[in-house]
């Protein structure tokens, strides 16, 4: 008998053979169940073993059913133990509370947390890659801003009047010529390049100063290329300004304020003024043109 036992126990199950008990219990997935069915149709030995397994299964169920059930005291004991447990109303309330940053993450399973972290990391990497690609294609010095580009297009002399913004002050009439429209658009560009206080608080004298003639815009070289914003912090432009001898300190102070300018040095009788937010050569040209029209300014030139 021992020899027989050893022989029996040394055998290894075939793949389908090993699945037969689960097939008999009806707990195989559809794919494996189909494989077993196909094998059973072709293999008589497998059919015989399957019959044996069904017998084993039936007797196992019968054996377990004979075991009975626990007495009612088991439930009483359980409920008594539950009653003796510390009240967890507070913890239950905390768990069911919808808000709470820490609570939200605490309720996530470790697997969910891991997937979320992986997804977040991947999203960051993709974002970094996209930004890098954009920078590499457009060159390191600059990238274009859509609304700024739109503004530049509006100022282009080739553009017809309807492209101008809806501001009542700047909308040209239908009768104006294209050249007049271009001039107005250029003026708008010049006005918007000047610090906000100059536009918003046009005192009578300031209005005279800040409403530059068409020559201001005309003196500016037409912008043929789209304006670009540097991603490198730009340095504010500096101009050397000589004031008239009769200029009073209060007038100079008012002018500095309205141009958002600050004194950063001197060159002979001229003061070196730096203009906040004005960073391009075009900005400097606009500023210089406007300054030269100021009553108290004798001379205004670019400074380095």
């Amino acid at each position: 008998m021992r020899a027989t036992s050893n022989k029996i126990m040394d055998d290894e199950p075939e793949e389908i053979e090993a699945l037969l008990p689960w097939y008999a219990a009806g707990t195989l997935n559809a794919r494996d169940a189909r494989r077993v069915e196909d094998a059973l149709k072709q293999d008589a030995a497998l059919q015989k073993q399957y019959a044996v397994i069904r017998e084993e299964s039936a007797e196992t169920v019968a054996l377990n059913e004979e075991l009975g059930a626990p007495s009612s005291s088991a439930l009483q004991k359980l409920m008594a133990a539950i009653d003796a447990e510390p009240a967890r109303a507070s913890s239950a309330a905390t768990a069911s509370r919808p808000g709470g940053f820490a609570g939200f993450f605490a309720r996530l399973s470790p697997r969910t947390l891991a997937w979320s972290a992986s997804f977040g990391g991947l999203a960051l990497m993709v974002q970094a890659g996209l930004i890098g690609t954009i920078l590499m294609r457009s060159g390191l010095e600059a990238f274009q801003s859509p609304d700024y580009q739109h503004h530049v297009e509006r100022t282009s002399s080739a553009r017809p009047a309807p492209a101008a913004p809806a501001s009542p002050a700047t909308v040209p009439s239908q009768e104006r010529t294209a050249q007049a429209s271009a001039d107005l658009a250029s003026r708008e560009r010049a006005i918007q390049s000047v610090p906000a206080p100059m536009r918003q608080e046009p005192s009578s004298s300031q209005a005279d100063r800040a409403a530059p003639s068409n020559s201001v815009a005309a003196a500016r070289p037409a912008q043929q290329q789209p304006a670009k914003r540097s991603i490198i912090p730009a340095k504010d432009v500096v101009a050397a300004v000589t004031f008239r001898p009769d200029a009073r300190m209060s007038d100079i102070s008012t002018l500095l304020g309205s141009y958002h300018a600050s004194v950063v040095g001197g060159e002979g009788s001229a003061l070196r003024l730096q203009f906040e937010g004005m960073t391009t050569a075009s900005d400097l040209n606009v500023i210089l043109t406007a300054l030269r029209k100021e009553r108290i300014v004798a001379e205004a030139v670019a400074a380095h």
Partner: protein, 189 residues
């Protein structure tokens, strides 16, 4: 177990996590007999198995909030029972266990020839099923009686799925050996 009842089980667990004692009674009523029998087949002592069933469901009460639903509730319950049964067995000395089991459940493990006296193959089979080692009894019960899939048995017992398959195969072979010793041939293996 159908997917509907599994969903209902998960809903019960969610309510239990909120402190709903009525949900606890429903879940107990639905599962306590099978879980008790699984434990009884492991520890072979009715009183001990009854104590364990209370402990299992008390654990459910305490840990319901941490149930993640990755497996069926019944699988979770059997896993808790198995852990508690093995822990209880480890706490007892062999001598204590032998004394108590002798009086609670008939065990023919050392005497397979007894089965010869059985009237038919069914009786002999049941006697031999009882004679198997706890390891083999456990896996046969889980597959045939508790209707657990390969994956679920692997989770409950804590072994790889391939080991589950080979362990059941060897359990069945051992059963065949016991039956042969009892003079019963079934045509396999």
């Amino acid at each position: 177990m159908s997917s509907t009842s599994e969903t209902a089980d998960e809903a019960l667990i969610a309510r239990i996590a909120q402190g709903d004692k009525a949900a606890m009674r429903v879940l107990y009523g639905r599962h306590h007999v099978r879980v008790f029998r699984f434990g009884l087949r492991l520890v072979r002592n009715e009183q001990l198995a009854e104590d364990l069933i209370s402990e299992v469901f008390l654990d459910v009460w305490r840990q319901a909030g941490r149930f993640e639903g990755r497996s069926a509730v019944s699988t979770w319950l059997l896993g808790i029972m198995r852990f508690k049964a093995l822990s209880a067995l480890r706490r007892r000395t062999d001598a204590e266990l032998d004394d108590e089991t002798a009086g609670s459940i008939a065990d023919t493990a050392d005497d397979p020839e007894v089965t010869v006296q059985k009237k038919d193959t069914g009786d002999a089979l049941r006697a031999c099923l009882t004679s198997l080692t706890p390891e083999h009894r456990e896996i046969i019960d889980l597959v045939y009686y508790h209707e657990k899939s390969v994956e679920e048995v692997a989770e409950i017992v804590g072994i790889p799925e391939n080991t589950v398959k080979t362990r059941l195969f060897y359990a069945r072979k051992k059963l065949a050996v016991l039956l042969q010793a009892a003079g019963i041939e079934r045509g396999w293996p």
